[in-house]
Symmetry: C2
Subunit: 379 residues, 2 copies
């Protein structure tokens, strides 16, 4: 089984892009990945396209804009983990010896004339009765506060940190720094989650090119190794009640650490799934960056800031960079590619050698199963 | 790279199933595959679920009905080739050495209260102006008639053959034999395609379990080898005008024959993509069973009947078994599994040792790209 390496990466700006269709957005990302790396398009042998709501044969519609049909194109969906699933699909095809070079695309257009959020599943009683995403995370926040003394201020600090990181990343949706007071004073969405505790609905796309070990070194002198590619499924709340952690995140990360042969303490930079600020606090604990219950203190002590123990979402994360569902998991890999090559510019994590990307998707209601993807990248 | 084998297969009845939700249908197929083979559920390490229109995290929703979440589940879409893509995803994961045993699910529920066909893509001018599937195939039929002298009677013979095959397959949607006159007298849908030239909208699901070479022989004494798994993308009409053949089918089948080391004449049984009867005539030629232009004569001479040169769609095919989009490609693999093990009952192709499954999806309009999957199975 060959090693698999990231050899090129790109993403479009995240944020409302009313003038640009989603296929154009995604193709822009593909083209940037090719152009920035100098990889000839005809080396691509297979593509996986991750998205959740963009309709049939999405990858074909994207790639035909550049005459890039011909190769196998598989469209893959796993809610917020769609992008991670696309990356995994390409990795498997390379490890299988079927291809040497493959493309993972992630894209989503979530902003719509008139606004509005994701469709509610009609036959899901939980969500149609109000247990939509913000409500589900709000219950987790309440439990975490109750059980561990996590404070509203600590949750706000996650937003403050990620907004500050985003000021250095021109691709971000959110372009304004905020204070703890700004977060707490913003309109209440689902108590205790204020508006600034929630990620925005964004448009955007990302692309990464992966290659087998032999070919990777011919395509770039700085390939970034995929040390682990893990996907698990599971219930958001396996015990049928609100949890103060994400079981899927715990399980996926433990498998990934073992495959990669690294420990949580070895991770220099983490692009984490933070659709709500409480999620980041919970995931510090899930991924083993601190003990259960210590997530609030972890952010308060600056241990997740750039320059801290582990830089969490130096790109701005979902909260500030934005969250175009299918794009997110691929964009995380792109961010780690830049970080581990020392190309992240103003938000570079100095000396980063181990990166972790983490997404959790689906499973908003008690009875719905979802997916969690964890990738570990090393140089 | 390990060989990959089919070790279990199942499908539900195809046809209208108003009382059963699509997740239940799909789980029935999974459970039948497990139960009929005696394979313990906990051997499954990964699943791909193929569907086109069944909503986010489909595979998770199916598998949680049996407590089978935990493993990686990837949801894959490629229009009519969604099932073939799911099978390919599992094959890659096994060849990659990531798993020993994996599950491919395909399912779709197309019947709806009030009826109606697939949604028309709003931004596709071609189809919103009337170039929907029957119209696109009707134009191909006209061209084939004009160019090669193919007759309406020959096209009708495809329907007659597949309906007759279906009489021996209790899982089929269509349960009535028809004559050439019945076909020609049925209401005109898109000249020259009458109603009985078109496949029905069906509900249904199928599942296959695949395993690496070592494990396969422990799970069954009659594993069926995947000799080639090929997916290509492309335009339905690469030249921008109506074609008398399917370029994707020609290309995918040639790659598959080379990978499997077999010639078209070696194929004993073929489950073919026949959404309209003209498609089967065209695909005889595309897959190399006869020369271009000779497809009409091929069916007329009985060479595609059970007992002919190559038994084409002995199961009844899309025309008579039905066509629940995502299920079709997986059900084709299930049919070949039964044929190559001599378990197909009344529609058994005697002595079948080489089987080919073929699906083409998407790309109805001139400007839309789709996918074609070809699998060759051998014993």
């Amino acid at each position: 089984m060959t090693g698999v390496y990231v050899v090129a990466a790109s993403m479009t700006d995240f944020g409302p892009q009313p003038e640009t269709g989603v296929h154009d957005l995604a193709f822009d990302a593909v083209w940037q990945a090719l152009e920035s790396s100098g990889i000839p398009p005809d080396l691509l042998e297979l593509a996986y396209a991750g998205h959740a709501y963009q309709g049939p044969c999405f990858g074909q519609k994207v790639l035909m804009k550049g005459g890039l049909t011909g190769m196998p194109i598989l469209n893959v969906e796993n809610a917020c983990a769609s992008g991670a699933s696309a990356v995994m699909g390409v990795i498997h095809a390379i490890q299988a010896g079927q291809i040497e070079v493959g493309l993972a695309i992630g894209a989503e257009k979530l902003t719509r004339p008139g606004g509005g959020f994701l469709p509610i599943v009609a036959d899901d009683l939980d969500s149609s009765m109000g247990r939509v995403m913000p409500a589900a995370f709000a219950m987790q926040a309440r439990l975490h506060m109750e059980r561990y003394g996590t404070t509203a201020e600590q949750m706000a600090m996650v937003t403050v940190k990620n907004r500050a990181n985003a000021m250095k990343n021109p691709r971000c949706h959110m372009k304004k720094e905020v204070t703890i007071q700004d977060v707490l004073a913003s309109p209440m969405i689902a108590d205790p989650l204020n508006r600034l505790a929630c990620c925005p609905n964004s448009d955007g796309a990302a692309a990464v090119i992966l290659a087998s070990e032999t070919v990777a070194r011919r395509l770039t002198n700085r390939p970034v190794k995929i040390a682990a590619s893990v996907l698990v499924s599971g219930l958001r709340t396996p015990h049928g009640i609100v949890d103060d952690h994400s079981e899927m995140s715990v399980r996926a990360s433990r498998i990934a650490y073992e495959k990669a042969g690294v420990a949580p303490g070895d991770v220099d930079v983490c692009e984490m799934h933070d659709p709500f600020n409480i999620a980041e606090i919970i995931h510090y604990e899930d991924l083993g960056f601190c003990a259960p219950g210590e997530g609030g203190r972890f952010v308060e002590d600056g241990r997740s800031a750039i320059g801290g123990d582990v830089a969490v979402s130096p790109s701005g994360g979902l909260l500030a960079k934005g969250h175009p569902l299918g794009a997110t998991g691929v964009a995380q890999i792109a961010e780690l590619f830049w970080q581990l090559r020392g190309e992240a510019g103003a938000y570079q994590v100095e000396g980063a050698r181990v990166g972790l990307a983490h997404t959790v998707g689906g499973g908003v209601s008690q009875l719905e199963a979802g997916a969690c993807g964890v990738h570990i990248l090393t140089v």
